[in-house]
């Protein structure tokens, strides 16, 4: 049976259908998960998609993290289930403390949508094993609150432990500390990133197909689990 990936929809989620498309293109099956659900329907992995859950009220992801589904996600993540947080999903993972640090307003104060050059620095995670370490890719970035911050100790720890998964190349698009675009937890099953790999899966609609690797990685991992 093909591995199943749950994609969560919160009120205000936008890229849930795009994440689902990416999973399907990578060969997986998708199970839509509703924010009010209390269990994960037996999925093998979870994607928290991009968007403006709860309108970004209070802080991005601050309200979504208390959704019923998140208790299940946090529990499963601690047990090793692969969880990917994209953009708003990354914000929710930080608010849930599944990942350290926080995302703040872009230093330019503008929303920025651009085709962003990135370097995949760690392929030791459930979501990046299909890449080659140091691989340079181009993936759309679109956010207003994408500046990653954490205290120096945390940043040093992330670097030392190889948990910086994705880094911005070229000019820093949003003021993220150490140009960090995405990070992983210690176990490597939880990854959060600001860029949108689900928008780089078809040459017709994206700048490249470089994003597909995130989804093929986890499916590979699950098939051989």
């Amino acid at each position: 049976m093909a591995p199943t990936v749950g994609v969560v929809t919160f009120p205000g989620s936008l890229d849930d259908r795009d994440a689902a498309r990416a999973v399907r293109l990578a060969g997986g099956q998708v199970v839509p998960l509703w924010h009010k659900d209390t269990h994960l329907m037996g999925v093998d992995a979870v994607v928290l998609p991009g968007g403006f859950s709860y309108g970004d009220y209070l802080r991005c992801g601050a309200i979504a993290r208390f959704s019923p589904i998140m208790s299940a996600v946090v529990g499963a993540a601690r047990e090793g289930m692969p969880v990917l947080g994209i953009c708003n999903g990354f914000q929710i993972l930080c608010e849930s403390h599944l990942l350290p640090g926080a995302l703040t307003r872009n230093d330019s104060l503008h929303f920025v949508c651009r085709d962003q050059a990135l370097r995949i620095e760690s392929t030791a995670t459930a979501w990046t094993s299909a890449y080659v370490p140091g691989q340079e890719v181009v993936v759309p970035l679109k956010n207003g609150e994408g500046g990653y911050v954490a205290d120096e100790r945390t940043l040093d720890e992330l670097e030392a432990e190889g948990r910086v998964v994705v880094r911005y190349l070229g000019a820093n698009p949003n003021g993220s500390r150490r140009a960090i675009a995405g990070i992983a937890n210690a176990a490597g099953n939880v990854v959060g990133l600001m860029p949108h790999p689900e928008h780089a899966v078809e040459s017709l609609t994206g700048p490249t197909t470089d994003g597909l690797g995130f989804f093929t990685s986890v499916l590979e991992r699950l098939v051989h689990a």
């Binding site: 209070l58 601050a62 350290p100 640090g101 703040t104 307003r105 230093d107 104060l109 911050v149 003021g175």
Partner: protein, 81 residues
């Protein structure tokens, strides 16, 4: 009926681009001598019951759990009668 005011500010070491923008705008508008601006949030919360230490403790919990992200923000709580 009691009221609690919670002020949430970014920690000093966190970049505050909105505060910066306000600072520059004040300068352009001719307000001299302004050296720094930080922007934060203020929550006004009405609660049943008396304005006592218990309420202050509950408000601190509200702030720590939801109103502030302790990774990047600090808060103060003030109980009003």
């Amino acid at each position: 009926m009691a009221r609690v005011v919670v002020d949430v500010m970014l920690k000093p070491e966190i970049l505050d681009p909105q505060g910066q923008a306000v600072l520059h705008a004040l300068g352009r508008l001719g307000f001299d001598g302004v050296s720094a601006v930080r922007q934060g949030k203020r929550f006004e919360i009405e609660v049943d019951g008396p304005a006592d230490a218990d309420l202050a403790a509950r408000a601190e919990q509200m702030a720590a759990t939801l109103l502030a992200n302790l990774v990047i923000e600090d808060f103060t709580v003030r109980v009003e009668g």
